[in-house]
């Protein structure tokens, strides 16, 4: 890891850079490992990941956190997270987290899954884990597509959204409707905390962090199941220029999967 006492390096601006610009210095969150990763430009997941790692660190849970993660893009995330991790199968992380939490109830146990992982393949798992009131936190990074396979429709893809297998846009008659998973889980009695956030702008990132703090606190208080859905950009999977990712997220996915808290201390928050 970079030495925090190193003076910040000054990038010369009197000549054009010889290669692609790369951030230097000490801006990494404490629980991040240095190293290369395979995430695409414009991906929203690192923003979400950073909030998760910061939240864990500031809660003082760095040495008591266990993450269970899915597959797909998440394999690329594992090498960057400096906390103990179990990699589960597509959809199975809530069950794996359940087993880990039952054996280590003092630990902060969370899942990190995509929408294809959690809402397609693993819908049953997350619903049962919530209904059981299992004292774990499930975190969904929802970008409305299967990112790693190259931009295919998932169960959260919004109507009209173009994907590789809904090429003219998702059509309700042909493809059915998106599942608003946060709204669904909030209604289950075992769910203590439920919220949806977005990382498309600074305000959204701060709100993401606040919701994560509350979910983790809820777990450590033993209130039951907690859930944070974070809308993230996937310009690669959306076939958009990188710079258009945040606005697309806000206007298209965000219009259907509305951000905000859905349940707190076991009480539904009415819109």
């Amino acid at each position: 890891m970079t030495d925090p006492n190193d003076p910040l390096r000054v990038i010369p601006t009197d000549a054009p850079p010889v290669g692609a610009c790369r951030q230097t210095g000490t801006s990494l969150p404490p629980l991040t490992l240095m190293g290369e990763h395979d995430l695409c430009p414009g991906c929203g997941e690192p923003l979400a990941l950073r909030q998760i790692l910061d939240a864990i660190d500031e809660m003082g849970m760095s040495q008591r956190a266990i993450g269970t993660i899915g597959i797909g893009c998440y394999t690329a995330l594992t090498s960057l997270m400096d906390i103990d991790l179990i990699q589960a199968l597509h959809g199975r992380a809530p069950s794996v987290a359940t087993g880990a939490k039952r054996m280590l109830p003092e630990n902060l146990v969370f899942t990190l899954q995509g929408d294809g992982d959690m809402v397609n393949e693993g819908l049953q798992e997350v619903i049962h884990t919530a209904a059981r009131g299992e004292n774990v936190t499930c975190i969904l990074l929802n970008n409305g597509v299967f990112g790693e396979t190259g931009g295919h429709m998932t169960a959260t893809t919004v109507l009209g959204q173009r994907t590789k297998n809904s090429i003219e846009g998702r059509d309700a008659g042909e493809h059915g409707y998106p599942i608003l998973i946060g709204d669904l889980l909030a209604r289950l009695q075992g769910t203590a905390y439920c919220a949806r956030a977005s990382v498309h702008d600074a305000k959204g990132v701060h709100r993401t962090r606040r919701f994560l703090d509350r979910a983790f606190e809820s777990q450590m208080k033993g209130q039951g199941f907690s859930f944070v859905e974070i809308l993230t950009m996937c310009p690669t999977g959306w076939f958009l220029p990188t710079a258009e990712g945040p606005d697309y997220l806000d206007q298209e996915l965000g219009a259907v999967h509305e951000v905000g808290e859905l349940k707190k201390d076991g009480v539904l928050i009415e819109a």
């Binding site: 490992l33 008591r64 594992t78 997270m81 179990i86 069950s95 880990a100």
Partner: protein, 368 residues
């Protein structure tokens, strides 16, 4: 519940298995009801909370093995189980758990012996094997259950106990004291969160992904697994050979069916036919060398199994044509499909062995 573990008492196999697992230190169990496995789950549900453990009535077999996976990844001794059909649903996870090198015990209270291939070949993706132990009695199930937890930790590998309806539901007088199989390596790979932020945090995963590194080393990863499986193959072959030294006909059978074969063997010996019995206890690794030795000098090897012919392939692959191999088993199950078929009859088995010995044809099916 106050139970003496050293006194023999009458116990159904399901209860004996749960008691043996708890004696071995199992503190997590998860399962989904399915006959004839159901009572194993019931016994764990009854006993584990008293021992400070957890038993979850999972909503599906897929979730059951997922939960056991998470518990085992923390270093706890964890188990799950089902019946062949439920095991089919768990195969995907069994493959991943094997590759993630997580010790776990899986009880298969099978419906008969039709799941031999499922147990020994695995129905999941990828290039893997897991250890399979097949008890023939409740007493042996107690011992093999405890051994299974030991072997799982020793090799960081899943171990399957292949039982059946009769093992689960027959009551026998057994004791369930803790059996000491020797010391084991520390579970320094298990996650507990304590290394977070140290740069050395752990990653329990099925692809050989190392923290802080880009990409994976697939060749090294698969080679390690293959090398370990070779070592298991060398070290963990288990079997029982009865009266094989002077045998002319060798019967090969596993699990409960082998007990019926043993009774048939005694009758045939009384008639003057020199019969030996070879019983693989580890179905993988298959006790190949010992079978070759037991078959030496025999004019024929008769394979008795309650299916259309599955273990016979391992017998043939072991003997490589050195001794003629004939099937004397067949498809045999009861109306409910639990595998308690007409073949569980020592007279019938003796008749078939007699026919095989005399070179007469043996029918493939068994009418229940």
């Amino acid at each position: 519940m106050n139970v003496s573990t050293t006194e023999r008492r009458l116990m159904e196999g399901s209860e004996a298995i749960a008691e043996a697992a708890i004696a071995a230190g199992c503190r997590f169990f998860s399962g989904y009801p399915m006959t004839p496995f159901t009572e194993v789950l019931e016994c764990f549900a009854k006993r584990l909370p008293d021992e400070g453990g957890a038993c979850i009535n999972a909503e599906s077999e897929i979730e059951a093995i997922g939960q056991a996976w998470g518990a085992a990844a923390t270093g706890a001794r964890a188990a799950t189980g089902s019946t062949g059909q439920g095991l089919s649903l768990m195969q995907e996870s069994m493959s991943e758990i094997t590759r993630a090198e997580i010790p776990i015990v899986i009880f298969n209270m099978a419906r008969g012996q039709g799941d031999y291939f499922q147990a020994t070949r695995g129905g999941g993706h990828g290039d893997y094997r897991h250890i399979v132990l097949a008890p023939q009695s409740v007493g042996e199930a107690v011992e093999l259950t405890q051994l299974a937890f030991h072997l799982a930790d020793k090799w960081r590998h899943p171990v399957v106990i292949y039982g059946d309806y009769l093992i689960a539901h027959t009551a026998e007088a057994v004791a369930t004291p803790k059996i000491d199989f020797g010391s084991l390596p520390a579970k320094d790979w298990a996650v507990d969160g304590s290394l977070g932020g140290s740069g050395r945090s752990r990653n329990v995963n099925p692809i050989g992904m190392e923290k802080g590194s880009k990409g994976i080393d697939p060749n090294g990863f698969w080679q390690n697994l293959a090398d370990k499986e070779d070592e298991i193959l060398e070290a963990e072959q288990r079997y029982e050979a009865i009266d094989t030294d002077d045998a002319d006909l060798l019967i090969v059978a596993f699990g409960t069916l082998a007990r019926f074969a043993h009774a048939a063997m005694r009758d045939l010996r009384a008639e003057g036919i020199k019969v030996g019995l070879f019983r693989p206890i580890s179905l993988w690794p298959f006790p190949k060398e010992a079978l070759v030795k037991a078959a030496e000098g025999c004019s024929k090897v008769a394979v008795l199994e309650q299916n259309a012919g599955q273990m016979i392939e391992d017998v043939q692959l072991s003997l490589l044509g050195s001794v003629p191999v004939v099937p004397i088993g067949g498809i045999s199950t009861d109306g409910a499909g639990f595998g308690i078929g007409a073949l569980l009859d020592s007279d019938l088995i003796a008749g078939r062995a007699r026919d095989a010995h005399a070179g007469r044809p043996v029918p493939r099916g068994v009418v229940a």
